[in-house]
């Protein structure tokens, strides 16, 4: 892996959303709301799984842009139009638990969907979070987010994590988590879409 990488600087990450779990990283402003309305496997804001989201995108036939499928902050009737689909996915894959290999994968392929234990995030403001392991157990995963980059700040290695709680939380909507020790289970549920 290169020593640092940030997909935001390459224009590959859409803006931070509020109260939605975006994993889409292609700069087309692709909609999460469509998934909320149209994914019948999961129950939108009642909770869902990344693997089911990939499956739903495949079944629906792709994703429309946010301009075509806008979000009004509440559950709408599904009105997906296959003709307006701008991107599609063919498959999804589960990634390694090795964080060095995850970094290499991220730099070469793109942002990575992960799920973490959100311990302390209610009060997180900025900096690199590194809670004690017993307080942030990798077994108690409760929040899905997106790894968009990694690097070091004053020799402290971090993952740059796109969250979905708006830009008025954390560092402009981003969370920085210690990299290399499986902090908060960041390496336990890594996955990505596959486009042929």
């Amino acid at each position: 892996a290169p020593p640092e990488w940030d997909w935001r600087s390459k224009g590959a990450v859409t803006e931070v959303k509020d109260q939605s779990q975006a994993m889409v990283s292609i700069p087309l402003h692709l909609p999460v709301p469509k998934l909320l309305d149209c994914d019948k496997v999961d129950k939108a804001c009642m909770g869902g799984l990344p693997s089911n989201a990939y499956s739903a995108i495949k079944t629906l036939g792709g994703l429309e842009t946010e301009d075509d499928y806008s979000y009004h902050g509440h559950l709408q009737a599904c009105s997906f139009s296959a003709e307006k689909a701008k991107v599609y996915i063919n498959d999804s894959v589960e990634l390694t638990k090795n964080e060095q290999k995850l970094a290499a994968w991220l730099a070469k392929k793109g942002p990575i969907s992960v799920a973490i234990n959100a311990f302390g995030m209610q009060f997180y403001r900025h900096g690199i979070s590194h809670p004690l392991r017993p307080l942030c157990s990798p077994w108690l995963i409760d929040h899905a987010v997106l790894l968009v980059g990694y690097g070091n700040r004053s020799a402290v290695p971090f993952w740059a994590i796109k969250n979905s709680w708006g830009t008025d939380w954390g560092e402009e909507g981003y969370y920085y988590l210690y990299r290399g020790s499986g902090a908060c289970g960041v390496n336990t549920m890594a996955s990505s879409a596959v486009v042929n």
Binding site: L49, N52, A104, R125, P134, V156, T188
Partner: protein, 225 residues
């Protein structure tokens, strides 16, 4: 919000035997996503029921016994056994239950009557003048929070209740700060007036690790042929 008494509404009446069903439903919701050995058990139950039309609103105070947790890789805190005092509001509409409110905390830090939490109950070790000083400072920080995040509360009671949550959250943030080994700063955020339970319910998904999803194939590592 704390339970509000609606002017002109039917009075609250005690109905102990009737409370068990809603209490068990609330327990089921509380234990949702937990493995068999990790589930809390129902302790004492008390509460009231208010009927209106075809529905009943149960306001419950319940003690829950958390099971002993010995595995440090699984336990969130190294506690042997914990009794929680929970406030639940359960709506029963034609036999269908819905959990409207859930607020749990260790018994020793919760008050047991219907009054709002005071600074004294949250910070029992402070003396009177310290409490007053702390209250003034906290009120000022809370006022700034309300302005910054454009918060509006329906009643004075609710504002007071939110301020007490805010104050105990500041203490929680300080504890998290003290235990963090990185460079992160914790403190006031837009979620500072939410209880831990509210925050979990609204913003987190405890079932992420529990529910079996679609099985995905393993990706080859970058560099593998």
């Amino acid at each position: 919000a704390p339970p509000r008494r609606v002017a002109g509404a039917q009075a609250w009446e005690p109905a102990p035997p009737e409370l068990l069903g809603p209490a068990r439903f609330a327990l089921e919701m509380y234990n949702r996503g937990r493995a068999a050995g990790m589930r809390a058990a129902l302790g004492a139950v008390r509460g009231r029921v208010r009927r209106a039309g075809r529905g009943s609103l149960y306001s419950l105070k319940v003690t829950l016994e958390e099971p002993p947790c010995n595995d440090p890789t699984v336990c969130q805190l190294p506690v042997s056994k914990k009794t929680l005092l929970c406030s639940f509001e359960v709506l029963d509409e034609l036999g269908k239950h819905m959990l409207l409110r859930r607020d749990c905390g260790p018994v020793d830090t919760k008050i047991t009557d219907d009054k709002s939490e005071s600074f004294t109950s949250v910070f029992p070790l402070l003396n009177k003048s310290q409490t007053q000083d702390f209250s003034v400072k906290m009120a000022s920080i809370f006022k700034h929070f309300v302005t910054t995040y454009n918060r509006t509360y329906e009643t004075k009671e609710e504002a007071q209740w939110r301020m007490s949550i805010f104050a105990s959250n500041m203490v929680r943030a300080q504890k998290i700060q003290a235990l963090d080994r990185g460079t992160a700063q914790y403190g006031v955020t837009k979620f500072s007036d939410l209880t831990e339970e509210e925050f979990r319910t609204i913003y987190l998904n405890p079932l992420l690790k529990e529910e079996p999803g679609v099985k995905m194939r393993r990706a080859k590592s970058v560099g593998d042929s």
